[in-house]
Symmetry: C2
DNA sequence: TTGTACGCGTTATCAG
DNA sequence: CTGATAACGCGTACAA
């Protein structure tokens, strides 16, 4: 009971050799139905279970895939992971979770230990915004599929699944323009990260396309937090003329701004419109639901998994790259929907 | 480049044997400093990295731990997982994630494949409310540590980390009584699950301790959803006399009820108080923040990990059981806080 | 159809 | 201090 039964154990019990047992268990045609039955019965009788570890060592395939995210308890990432897990699970893969907490050093460590564990692939939402050459070299040396999701690094021959953040910024801003807003401010993220830069560029382009002049003063750098959002709003209202709308790269900052607007008795959406980004659950549940951009995280996870599967199943010699770009979906809610 | 360097490769390069290389790499005292240096240099030069798979096969320890949850994209579970990952990561363990989607069959499958993968332990939030004997047998046969968290099964010699759900129900109800509410209803979960039954029993006991008669009519079975919450509220208001407060086993149902109350122009908290359960993020962000019970998910995850570590590090012969019961924390917010 | 022998990469035991 | 050898559990050429 203490130790698990191996094919050797059941071979001994049947007075045959382990090789034969292995063949019987793996539906190898080169075996008689008679012995196959015998083996199968004895196997279930002895509660035999294949040791995937030994198989992995032998075959070089572990059926484990590493997934690296900044933080698992962010709704967006947990949904991506769910998508990944569900898709990979169909094909017998397991998902190993790692967190970086936005620390590039931790990201590197995670990759290294995952490689030691002999994962069959790595799905990575990178937090290394700067072109960390050491990480770059590490990734290039990998001889297993690598798939970036949500955030990617510019590299040759790399797979990625992202949303069109530019389009997201554009759609949100265009929507605000359509609502009649003319002085639209932007709560921006860290421009060292491509996603935030793209959202900003989309915002800017929408303004230009509408013939609205763009002002640096209306762009406030904020972290993804309530306090930063409310602080940014105060700064914006101090400008002359003050803005009449905000497109925020973060739902949390958007909420902070909204809370501040309410304190000041500024009517939303009549006098001020707000659109956030990410479709955090709370944006939907508010008394004043917040308009936002949905990033289809579940779909993103599934796609990332599919890209990995394609890569891993394709001929190893053909190193191809696959870039999937998902379309952002604008969720129009009360915070930006004027009646008239 | 295509294939990874092994200790055998570096042994050949140094004209020594693989065993010596292994000793040098593992700080085995029985080796000269000279050769140790030589090996270390050559190892880094050849970009050697230990193959944990081979080590796992040899040592019988994979440093992988399986974590099974109903759904990873529930805020509560993602926080528990985060706690688990962070604690286990300190000691070199990796976390493999599995989801059951509340399907007992899937739970069983997950356990079986995890065992095949040779995980060193399983941390399980069970979804098998009924005493599934087949699962029970499976778990008993395991010769690796098993730790239940949040939801447990009654078994001999088993470890668990849960919160005191009875106390949670009691605290929430007691708080409503303290606010002056006298006709307190309960939105209940599935009583086949211990956690929901306990919350209900805590609610009932608080009423009895306050000398308030308990009525079955005030207990409505609801799923954890907005629509169920609003439907339940309508049913409750049809009763004579209608309740003046709700303790809900679910934040989502609580929100559904609140939305319905607002539609009916019933003032919260003046004329009606509501307390939920789980401390979902949105409860804090609402214009009318919702009182709720916090389950300390991060702490629960860390504790579950610690219990596993204790078990796995202790003498295998001593099979002990450890039950950790965390105290629920009442978060009092506007939805239940009367001014006067 | 079955048995033999070997290798996956590592560590541990036993000689030397 | 170092080398040779076995073992972890499995699959698979090769030989019988």
């Amino acid at each position: 009971m203490g130790t698990k039964t191996t094919i050797y154990d059941i071979a001994k019990a049947l007075n045959i050799t382990a090789a034969t047992v292995s063949r019987a268990l793996n539906n190898n045609p080169k075996i008689s139905n008679e012995t196959r039955q015998l083996v199968l019965e004895m196997a279930s009788k002895m509660n035999y279970e294949q040791n995937k570890l030994a198989l992995a060592l032998k075959s070089g395939k572990s059926f484990n895939v590493g997934v690296i995210v900044p933080r698992i308890d962010r709704n967006f990432f947990s949904l991506v992971i769910r998508g990944i897990e569900e898709e990979l699970n169909k094909f017998g893969y397991h998902v190993i979770i790692c967190q970086t907490h936005e620390d590039p050093q931790k990201e590197k460590e995670n990759i290294e230990t995952l490689l030691n564990t002999q994962v069959d692939g790595i799905l990575l939402c990178t937090t290394s915004n700067v072109n960390t050459t050491s990480l770059n070299n590490l990734l290039k040396k990998m001889n297993i599929p690598l798939v970036f999701f949500d955030r990617r690094m510019e590299m040759k021959r790399v797979n990625s699944v992202v949303i069109n953040d530019f389009e997201g910024g554009y759609k949100a801003t265009k929507h605000l323009l359509d609502q009649g807003c003319r002085r639209i401010a932007h709560l921006a993220g860290n421009f060292l990260m491509e996603i935030y830069k793209e959202r900003f560029l989309g915002y800017k382009q929408a303004l230009l396309d509408a013939g609205i002049s763009f002002s640096e003063d209306y762009v406030i750098r904020t972290k993804s937090s309530l306090v930063d959002g409310s602080r940014a709003l105060k700064d914006l209202l101090a400008i002359n003329p003050p803005p009449d709308a905000i497109f925020s790269s973060s739902d949390f900052a958007a909420l902070g701004a909204i809370q501040e607007l309410k304190k000041l008795n500024i009517k939303i959406p009549d006098d001020f419109c707000v659109v956030g980004f990410s479709n955090e659950p709370f944006t939907r549940f508010m008394e004043l639901p917040i308009s936002t951009i949905d990033q289809s995280p579940l779909e993103m996870g599934r796609m990332a998994a599919k890209v990995f599967l394609e890569q891993t199943n394709s001929n190893q010699n053909i190193k191809m790259e696959k870039k999937v770009i998902l379309d952002p979906v604008l969720k129009i809610r009360k915070s930006s929907l004027k009646k008239g």
